[in-house]
C-alpha cells in the first residue's frame, strides 16, 4: 500500500500522466473523431490515409474520448489527484495546527508584548504556541489553497469521468403535431461506456416550434413547446436555448437544428399516389436557401430540394416558403419545379402538389449524473486558487529572550516577495526600540550582544521556500 502511494505521489508519475493526457488530447485533435465528422468525411479521410486509418482503428484513435484506454488514463489521473489531495490535506492541517516556521531567529531588543502589538497591527493573528514561542500567522487560510485547488480539479475530473461512463443522451426530431411513442428510436444517440440505452420516458408530441429573429436575420431565440402524454395525463413543457427543462429525472435541451417539413404528394403515370414529408433545415437568412437530397424508394430518381424561408424574400420566416424540387438522374437534371403551399405542377413523369408545411424541431434528452460535480469543482477551484495565489500565509514565531525577543519568519509561498513585510516588522520594532534605548536594537541571533548592522537584516535565506 505504501509502495503504491509512493508511486502515485511520485513526481515522475504525476508529470508522466499530465504529459500522457496532453498527448491524448493532441491525438484526439489530429485524428478525425467520429462524433465530430460525418461518416462520409471519416470514410474519405480513411481512404486518403490508409496507414493512419489502420492505426486509428487499432488504437481507437477515431473515438479517443470514448475509448477504454482514455477512461483508464483519466481514472489513473484521478487516482493520483485523489492521493495527492489527501496528502495536501494532511500537510495543510499540520501547518495550520503546528505551524510552519523554521530557520534562524532574529533578535529584537523590544518587549514581547510590544512586538506582538506590531504584528497584530500588520495583520498577523496569534494562533497558539509552538516550541515555547507564540505563533503569529497572516492569512492562515492560505495553507488550504493548494489542497482546495487539487480537490477542485479532482472533483471536476471525477465528475467528468462519471459523465464519460454513465451519461445517456438521445435526440428526437419531430414535426409539429407528430408524436413519438415511449421507447421510440432516437434520431441520434450517444451513451457512456457503462451506460445502457436511454428510453424515451413517455410519448412526446411536438406542439410548436417558434423562432424569433434579429433585424439582420440572425436567430434571436428558439422555443419549443411539446407535451408528454402518459397514463398520468398530458404534461405541457416549454423550453428554449439556455432554458432547459426537466421531466422524470431526464434533462431536456433545445436542439439547435430546426426547419420546415414539406408535405408533398406525387402521382405517377399509372395514377399511383406517393406521399413524402421532406424535412429541410432553416436557411441562414432570407436571401439564402437550404438544401437537401432525398432518395425515394418508389422512384428511380434522386430528389433534390431547395427551400427559401419566404418566397418573396421579405423575412427569415413566413407562411409562404418556397420549395424548389429537382429530379436528378445521375448527374442529369430531369426536371425542376418551384412550389408554394397549395401549388401543383409537373416534375418529370410525376404530378406534384405541396399540400402543407409545418415546422420541425429537435429535442435533446439527457440523463446524466456528474454535472453537479463540475459545478462544485468550479467553486472549490475558485476558492483554492484565490487562497493559493492571493493569500500566501506568512508565519512568525515570537520568543521572549531576556529583555528582547527573537523572531523566526517564513512565507508559505513566494517568500522572496514578502521579505519586505518582515523587514518592515523588524524596522518598526527596531525604530521604537532605538528611540527608547538609543542603541542598535536588531541583530541576527548569536550577535545579540555584538556589533549589529544598522539596517534590519534580511530574513534568513534558508527560510525562503517557493
Amino acid at each position: 500500500m505504501h509502495v503504491l502511494k509512493r508511486f502515485l505521489l511520485s513526481r515522475t508519475t504525476v508529470l508522466t500522466l499530465i504529459a500522457l493526457m496532453l498527448g491524448a488530447v493532441v491525438v484526439g485533435y489530429l485524428f478525425p473523431q467520429r462524433f465530430l465528422v460525418t461518416p462520409a468525411e471519416l470514410a474519405r479521410w480513411q481512404l486518403a490515409h490508409p496507414q493512419l486509418a489502420a492505426l486509428s482503428r487499432l488504437g481507437a484513435l477515431d473515438h479517443v474520448y470514448t475509448s477504454p484506454w482514455f477512461a483508464l488514463l483519466l481514472g489513473c489521473f484521478l487516482a493520483v489527484l485523489a492521493v495527492s489531495t489527501v496528502e495536501q490535506f494532511q500537510r495543510a492541517l499540520q501547518k495550520t495546527l503546528k505551524g510552519d516556521v523554521a530557520g534562524d531567529p532574529v533578535f529584537v531588543a523590544r518587549g514581547e508584548e510590544a512586538v506582538a502589538a506590531i504584528l497584530r497591527a500588520k495583520g498577523f493573528r496569534r494562533l497558539g504556541t509552538v516550541a515555547g514561542g507564540s505563533r503569529f500567522v497572516k492569512h492562515p487560510g492560505g495553507y488550504w489553497g493548494p489542497f482546495l485547488l487539487h480537490l477542485g480539479i479532482a472533483v471536476s475530473i471525477g465528475a467528468a469521468l462519471v459523465i464519460l461512463l454513465f451519461e445517456q443522451r438521445g435526440v428526437l426530431h419531430l414535426v409539429e403535431g407528430e408524436t413519438a411513442p415511449p421507447g421510440a428510436p432516437w434520431y441520434q444517440e450517444e451513451r457512456g461506456l457503462l451506460a445502457g440505452t436511454l428510453l424515451l420516458p413517455a410519448a412526446v408530441r411536438l406542439d410548436r416550434v417558434a423562432a424569433a429573429y434579429w433585424p439582420n436575420d440572425d436567430l434571436r431565440q428558439l422555443t419549443t413547446d411539446f407535451s408528454f402524454i402518459g397514463q398520468g395525463g398530458v404534461t405541457a413543457v416549454s423550453m428554449g436555448i439556455n432554458r432547459p427543462a426537466w421531466f422524470r429525472g431526464v434533462r431536456l435541451f433545445q436542439g439547435k437544428s430546426y426547419g420546415r417539413a414539406f408535405y408533398v404528394e406525387f402521382r405517377d403515370a399509372r395514377g399511383e399516389w406517393h406521399g413524402e414529408i421532406l424535412q429541410l433545415d432553416q436557411p441562414a437568412n432570407r436571401a439564402q436557401a437550404s438544401y437537401g437530397t432525398f432518395l425515394l424508394g418508389w422512384a428511380p430518381f434522386r430528389l433534390k430540394a431547395k427551400y427559401y424561408a419566404d418566397a418573396a424574400r421579405r423575412g427569415p420566416e413566413s407562411d409562404q416558403p418556397l420549395l424548389v424540387l429537382r429530379l436528378v438522374d445521375g448527374a442529369r437534371v430531369v426536371s425542376e419545379l418551384p412550389l408554394t403551399v397549395g401549388g401543383t405542377g409537373r416534375l418529370g413523369p410525376y404530378a406534384v402538389s405541396l399540400t402543407r408545411t409545418a415546422r420541425w424541431g429537435g429535442i435533446i434528452f439527457i440523463r446524466s449524473r456528474g454535472m453537479a460535480g463540475i459545478f462544485f469543482g468550479f467553486f472549490i477551484i475558485c476558492l483554492g486558487g484565490g487562497l493559493s495565489y492571493w493569500f500566501p500565509p506568512r508565519e512568525i514565531l515570537l520568543r521572549r529572550d531576556g529583555a528582547g525577543c527573537r523572531l523566526c519568519w517564513r512565507a508559505g509561498r513566494f517568500a522572496a516577495m514578502y521579505r519586505d513585510e518582515f523587514a518592515a516588522v523588524l524596522a518598526q520594532a527596531a525604530g521604537s526600540a532605538a528611540a527608547a534605548t538609543g542603541g542598535n536594537p536588531v541583530c541576527p541571533a548569536g550577535e545579540a550582544s555584538g556589533d549589529a548592522a544598522a539596517a534590519p537584516p534580511e530574513p534568513p535565506a534558508a527560510n525562503h521556500r517557493q
Binding site: 443522451r169 428558439l222 428554449g240 454535472m371 484565490g386 513566494f414 516577495m417
Partner: protein, 275 residues
C-alpha cells in the same frame, strides 16, 4: 448607426495614441531612471483607460450586449481589462511595475489590431445569453493580464541572462523576476481553469453537453495542461531561471493560439463569437 461607428473608432484611436504616448514616457522613465516620466506615463495611461472605457461603454450601448462577440470588441475589451487589472495588481505588488514595459504596448497593439478588423455590430445569438458565458469570457480576459505580466518577467529574465543592455540592470534582480513570472503563471493557470469550467457549465446549459472537443476547447485544455506541467516542473522538479522561462514562452504561445487563432476556425461552435 454609421456616425456611431465613426465616433467609436475615433475614441479608440485616441486611446491608442494616448497609450502610445504613455508607453514612450514610461519606457524612457524606466530606462533612464526618470521618475517624473514614469509618473507622466502613469497619468496618461489612467486618462487613456478612462477614454477607452467610455468608448467601450458607448459601443455596448450601440450593440446592446457586452463586449464578447466580434474581433473588434473582444480585442478592445481584453486590452482594457488587461491594463486596468495590471494597474490593480501593481497597486498591491509594486514590484511588477516594470512589466508595464510590455503591458502598455501590448494593450494599444491589441486595440489597433481590433480596429483593423473594423467595428461591426453583431447581434447576440441565443446561445451567448448566459451569465456563465459572461464569467467564462471575463476570466479568460483576466488571464490575458496575468499572462502578459508573466511573459514580461520571463522575457526580461532571458534578456538579462543573455547579457542584454545596461538598462536591464535597472529591473528587479533575476531571482525576483523569475519568482514573479512563476507567480503570475500560477494566476493564469487558476483563472484559465475557472474560465474553462465556467465555459463547460455554459456549454451544458446551451447545448446539453459540458465538453464537446471543439477545437477551441481542445486547445484550451492543451494550454491548461501545459501550464500545469510548467507549474509542476517548477515546484517539484526545481525548474527555474532560463529553462522555466523558455518553457513559459511555449505556454504563452499556446495560450495565444487558443485565444486568438482557434476561434477563426469555422469548424468551431465558438467561431460565431470571434468571426
Amino acid at each position: 448607426m454609421p456616425d456611431s461607428f465613426v465616433t467609436v473608432t475615433i475614441i479608440h484611436w485616441s486611446a491608442v495614441a494616448i497609450y502610445a504616448l504613455a508607453t514612450g514616457c514610461n519606457t524612457a522613465g524606466i530606462l533612464f531612471r526618470k521618475e517624473r516620466a514614469i509618473r507622466i506615463g502613469f497619468g496618461l495611461v489612467l486618462g487613456g483607460l478612462a477614454i477607452h472605457g467610455a468608448g467601450l461603454l458607448f459601443w455596448w450601448r450601440i450593440v446592446g450586449h457586452g463586449p464578447y462577440i466580434g474581433r473588434f470588441e473582444v480585442l478592445s475589451s481584453q486590452a482594457w481589462l488587461a491594463l486596468a487589472l495590471f494597474l490593480v495588481f501593481r497597486h498591491f505588488l509594486p514590484r511588477i511595475a516594470v512589466a508595464s514595459l510590455l503591458v502598455y504596448p501590448a494593450t494599444f497593439l491589441m486595440i489597433a489590431v481590433g480596429l483593423f478588423f473594423a467595428p461591426q455590430a453583431r447581434m447576440l445569438p441565443p446561445t451567448l445569453r448566459s451569465v456563465w458565458l459572461v464569467l467564462h469570457v471575463t476570466f479568460y480576459k483576466i488571464s490575458v493580464c496575468t499572462l502578459l505580466v508573466a511573459l514580461a518577467f520571463s522575457v526580461f529574465f532571458l534578456l538579462r541572462e543573455r547579457g542584454g543592455g545596461r538598462w536591464l540592470t535597472r529591473l528587479p534582480d533575476p531571482e525576483t523576476m523569475d519568482l514573479l513570472a512563476f507567480r503570475f503563471a500560477g494566476f493564469s493557470f487558476t483563472f484559465w481553469s475557472i474560465a474553462m469550467l465556467a465555459g463547460s457549465i455554459w456549454a451544458y446549459q446551451s447545448w446539453g453537453r459540458f465538453w464537446g472537443w471543439d477545437p477551441i476547447e481542445t486547445w484550451s485544455l492543451i494550454t491548461w495542461g501545459a501550464f500545469g506541467l510548467y507549474l509542476h516542473l517548477r515546484r517539484f522538479f526545481g525548474w527555474k531561471g532560463a529553462r522555466a522561462a523558455y518553457f513559459y514562452l511555449i505556454c504563452f504561445l499556446l495560450s495565444v493560439v487558443s485565444l486568438y487563432f482557434t476561434p477563426l476556425l469555422n469548424s468551431s461552435i465558438h467561431s460565431e463569437y470571434f468571426n
